[in-house]
Amino acid sequence: MRSFRMASALVVLLAAARVLAQPPPPGAWSCSGCHLASPGAAGAPASLAGRKAADIAGAVADFRTGRRPATVMDRIAKGFSDDEIAAIAAWWQDQRP
């Protein structure tokens, strides 16, 4: 078992694949359609990977109420409950930029 895990880890390194620590909660993986998983694209919305969960969840909550101005995030935020947003934010905090 342990050896197999080590073997798997080695294969991962050899393939240079970036692997997710945990499967994303519902909706979380849609974010990276616009928010690049790693920073770099000019003019793109902020990357979420490694950001504090409280900051992400707070921003989405403010988009939903309209307290924070938005172009499209107000429309998207309304599709998620507080618990769902918290789970998504916690998952993005754990992702490596």
């Binding site: 240079a16 359609g33 793109a44 172009t71 998207i76």
Partner: protein, 425 residues
């Protein structure tokens, strides 16, 4: 060599690398292993192949695709309008290879769902534990009298990006000032619902600057279209009466074309065009019907949680080919579906129950290079389909100021950079 052998070799090498070749194979309960074949390397298929590897690197993934270079339909309207070179729409598959995806460049010719095998045109047979089909669209060449493949060389569809995109661009460049450009738009459903109207917008942008005496006529087989009020307001503000839209009930449906005479016929009139862009009715890519996953509509019914075909077991269908309920046939939706499908496939291979997904779509259109508009939606499984989450989504505000439109145009450009990097990078 079949993929079964390749997979055994892959796992043996994995074991040998750590000196554990004599250990027994892990059982499925310990985590997902197996071989997933993905047919089609567009936004859906490429995203699915990469997502599977990110979720579970022990799964062997083979991507089957005919072309070594992908040309994006999103942003191809900027090429039609002369705003961008087509090279900026082209992406290779080296990024997926680096992530451990095996690439197989050949056409899939048959799928045997019972024996879980895919036959390729080069004689190879691939065996799969799960198959993900992302065949995109095929144009229905028998749907519009007079519009066959030779006719498309005179009246390009430009609805699959590449040579057709460049042909339409050349025709617009060669057209004298004062010419009539006609776009024939199909009935729903079709790839990229706002696409014909973004195309009209960006062609109008080009005509206004270079050939201002010209006109653009949209002959439509429907009475409404995506982001309609936003497009119409933008057209009026930017292009005056350069663009005219003729709806179905105004006689807009094209019933016949004559590519030699360059005419498009409706119930009420015959229009002679200088440049004609005919976007014909569409269906799922041909291999979907061959595999038995397309229904009588020509599209593929799916389970909204796993994207597994409701017609054939262990075959998942994503992207434009799928009947995804309220989700449009867009690249963003294809990418989001690919990631949700990949998570479901990994769960199924590990013997776990797939979690219910939540999906997002965001789709930008350019009315002009600095005038962007968007539609967004959030979707969840309901009643066997992917349904809109009530209260979420919708289009950009109708009364926004120019800085808002400019910001959305910037986001449109950034979205293209991001989505192509995620799918192919």
């Amino acid at each position: 060599m079949t993929q079964t052998v390749a997979r055994r070799n892959f796992l043996m090498q994995a074991g040998a690398a750590a000196g554990t070749a004599l250990l027994p194979m892990p059982t499925l309960a310990q985590g997902a292993t197996g071989h997933v074949v993905v047919i089609g390397g567009g936004f859906a298929g490429a995203s699915a192949a990469g997502a599977l590897k990110r979720l579970e690197p022990r799964i062997a993934v083979t991507l089957v695709e005919t072309q070594r270079t992908f040309t994006s339909c999103p942003f191809s309207n900027t090429v039609v309008a002369g705003l961008r070179s087509i090279g900026r729409l082209r992406f290779g598959y080296q990024g997926l290879a680096r992530r451990g995806v095996a690439l197989h460049f050949a056409a899939a010719t048959a799928v045997d769902a019972q024996r879980q095998r895919v036959s390729l045109a080069d004689g190879t047979t691939l065996t799969y534990d799960r198959l993900v089909m992302a065949p995109g669209i095929d144009l229905k060449w028998d749907a519009l009298p007079g519009y066959d493949q030779p006719a498309a060389l005179a009246m390009p569809h430009a609805w699959k990006a590449g040579a057709q995109t460049l042909l339409l661009r050349r025709q617009l460049s060669a057209m004298p000032d004062g010419g009539l450009v006609v776009i024939a738009a199909p009935a729903n459903p079709f790839r990229c619902p706002p696409g014909p109207y973004e195309r009209a917008s960006l062609i109008a942008y080009y005509l206004k600057a270079k050939k201002p005496r010209s006109k653009l006529l949209i002959l439509d087989a429907k009475d409404g279209f995506s982001k309609q009020k936003l497009f119409e307001a933008g057209w009026k503000a930017l292009y005056g009466d350069l663009i005219e839209w003729v709806s179905l009930s105004q006689g807009g449906k094209v019933t016949e074309v004559d590519a030699k005479a360059m005419t498009l016929v409706t119930d009420f009139a015959t229009h002679k065009a200088a440049v004609a862009n005919v976007i014909p009715p569409q269906q799922a890519g041909r291999i979907a019907a061959v595999a038995g996953v397309a229904d009588r509509t020509g599209w593929c019914p799916i389970d909204p949680v796993t994207f597994e075909s409701t017609l054939m077991p262990k075959i998942h269908v994503i992207g434009d080919a799928a009947i995804a309920g309220a989700m449009p046939k867009s690249a963003f939706a294809a990418n989001a579906q690919a990631k949700a499908c990949a998570a479901a496939v990994v769960a199924l291979l590990a013997g776990r129950m797939p979690a219910e997904p939540r999906l997002i779509n965001t789709c930008y259109s350019l009315v002009a290079p600095d005038w962007g508009i968007s539609i967004a939606g959030v979707f969840r499984p309901a009643g066997g389909l992917l349904a809109d989450v009530a209260g979420a989504g919708g289009v950009s505000p109708l009364d926004a100021d120019p800085s808002f439109r400019a910001q959305e145009a910037k986001y449109a450009n950034a979205w293209f950079a991001t989505i192509t990097r995620e799918a192919f990078g």
